[in-house]
Amino acid sequence: MLGLGDFWVSLVYILCIASALLCLVYGLLNWNKGGEPSPLEIKEEARWKKEEKKIEDKL
């Protein structure tokens, strides 16, 4: 297939393109998913920022 010599190399040629397409499709389908941080995440972020600020101030 595609002028390639054996099954294994033909397979991997297709697999490379297919896996890149999988990444593309996954990315496009989930383009806007996971963007809203959960309340828990917001709390963690705030805690993290406070901790960072404390360290910066100390310095």
């Binding site: 002028g3 991997v12 990444c23």
Partner: protein, 535 residues
């Protein structure tokens, strides 16, 4: 090659890189900005930076040259690079790494491991491993970049090495991870353009996709004649099962690099640079296509160079022989002979970008490992994070520079040791970090003792295999020869071509799991903090 044209292009490229480094510096106001880019990087920049860091000049020139020898079977590495290195890494590991990094307030990869298993010692040891072994990997890329500049711009190698290092060091030390990632993204775009052109021009020159492959397939008798004894069956078919070529390709190239990528500290830290899972989802799309166009193109074109050289009136021989049996010279020779000057210039900048994007991240990771993980966290050194990290960065850069300069100069066979630097570092990282990293992200039963014992088992077994069994490393390292009078303790058997990862990774997994079964289970409160928001 028109030096004026090339110098102008290189100078424009350096100017833009310098400007982006300056932008990173201006936007860096805190330690978190410097270490994890403020956790607010754009997904496009993150994906390109990950890809550009992952792909160094050696992935294009070295592995592209290897494809000219092994053939297109090496594309299994590209498949793993995309499927594991991008899809699994971003869509699964990345999300957990990001959230856990936030929960534990981790700024580096060793800090994430240390805090996950509640062990500053583990953080220190992980940092120390990076501090000791990453300079060899960095030296590989430094040497490659400097040699290339010296050859192309016709300047002295040592001056090229020095100035090349200084330019990157300035923007990494000044601008931290933001400067690294901004410049990476620009370099990634250049790499994408260069490699796309290379693929299109090569297929067009050889009569189209199927026709080009067919011409290479028709040359299989030549491949068998030259490499048949080692198991070669042609450049478009897989090597003979269990032959030396098969072992080398499957364990060394495909598994060694393909799986090892998951536990690379300089890559894993990037998951902690984005704000939400949405950025990681978007980055998957960009990353998958980017990697396909990097290693996918390098390996396909690398194998196809055989058709070009065999039909070229000046050569009329296969790529390896056309390049004087020097694998590293195959791709540069092909670019020089097959394309017009303007493309040679574009491709040279592509390679320069590939080297610089990998180096900047290596400098950053080594510096943060030595400064943040070893000095500040482990041995409780005094000082401010930013200052300590910058000094540590300078020290590790000097060590890498010294290795790249000194090893070949003072030590016969030094270049051969450096050439194995990437494999040594990848192997050690995957064996030492992968089981505890995966276990830490997905399991609540892995204990501190399990992680530590697994680390030692993976690290030591990998190191011993490298020093005494795997001939590709044990031979240039000379320790086995000095102690036992031979290049490998397994000389004469196929074990000498089996990559360390095949032995040390299963061992490390086994030790991590078994020790965790018997030790004290982790505290429920600590686990709750680690897995907060992780389903």
């Amino acid at each position: 090659m028109n030096i004026l044209l090339l110098s102008t292009i290189v100078l424009i490229y350096l100017f833009i890189t310098g400007y982006l480094g300056y932008v990173g510096y201006r936007k860096t106001k805190s330690a978190a900005d410097f270490l994890v880019a403020g956790r607010s990087i754009h997904p496009f920049i993150m994906a390109l930076s990950y890809g550009a860091t992952f792909i160094s000049t050696s992935a294009i020139v070295g592995f592209g040259g290897a494809a000219a020898v092994f053939g297109m079977g090496i594309l299994y590495l590209t498949f793993l690079n995309i499927f594991i290195g991008i899809f699994v890494a971003f869509a699964f590991f990345g999300k957990r790494t990001r959230m856990m990094g936030l929960n534990l307030n981790a700024h580096t990869f060793p800090e994430l491991l240390g805090k996950r298993f509640d062990s500053v010692f583990l953080q220190g040891m992980a940092g120390l491993l990076i501090f000791i072994f990453m300079p060899i990997y960095t030296a590989v890329v430094l040497m490659g970049g400097a040699q290339f500049i010296a050859e192309v711009l016709q300047v002295n190698y040592h001056s090229a090495l020095f100035f090349f290092t200084v330019i990157i060091a300035i923007y990494v030390i000044m601008g931290g991870l933001k400067a690294v990632m901004y410049t990476d993204a620009f370099q990634g775009i250049l790499m994408f353009i260069g490699m796309t052109l290379l693929l299109v021009l090569t297929y067009a020159m050889l009569g189209g996709v199927t026709a080009a492959h067919q011409k290479l397939t028709d040359m299989s008798a030549t491949a068998v004649q030259v490499f048949g004894a080692k198991g070669h069956t042609g450049w478009t078919s897989f090597p003979k099962f269990a032959s030396p070529y098969w072992w080398d390709l499957v364990t060394g190239v495909v598994l060694g690099v393909g799986v090892g990528v998951l536990a690379q500290p300089q890559l894993a830290v990037r998951f902690m640079t984005v704000k939400s899972n949405r950025e990681l989802n978007r980055a998957v799309a960009v990353g998958g296509i980017f990697i396909l166009m990097m290693t996918g193109v390098a390996f396909t074109v690398g194998a196809l160079t055989n058709v070009y050289f065999a039909n070229h009136p000046e050569f009329q021989k296969i790529s390896l022989l056309a390049a004087g049996k020097n694998v590293e010279k195959i791709i540069p020779l092909y670019i020089n002979k097959a394309f017009p000057q303007w493309f040679t210039a574009v491709f040279m900048v592509t390679l320069l970008a590939a080297a610089m994007s990998t180096l900047s991240s290596q400098f950053h990771t080594m510096g943060t490992a030595a400064g943040r993980d070893v000095y500040e966290s482990w041995i409780k050194g005094k000082g401010n994070t930013l200052g300590i990290t910058k000094v540590a960065m300078l020290i590790t850069i000097l060590i890498s520079l010294f290795l790249a300069w000194g090893l070949p100069a003072f030590f016969e066979g030094g270049t051969a040791i450096i050439a194995r630097g990437t494999a040594i570092f990848f192997g050690l990282c995957s064996a030492a970090f992968l089981p505890m990293f995966v276990g830490g992200l997905y399991s609540k039963t892995i204990t501190k003792a399990g992680a530590l014992w697994g680390f030692w088992a993976g690290f030591l077994s990998s190191l011993l295999w490298i020093l005494f069994i795997h001939a590709k490393e044990s031979q240039p390292l000379l320790l086995c020869k000095a102690l036992f009078g031979k290049d490998s303790l397994a000389a004469g058997t196929n074990w000498t071509v089996v990559d360390p990862i095949v032995i040390s990774l299963p061992l490390s997994i086994l030790v991590t799991v078994v020790v965790s079964r018997f030790g004290k289970p982790p505290a429920a409160k600590h686990l709750e903090q680690c897995f907060k928001g992780i389903k």
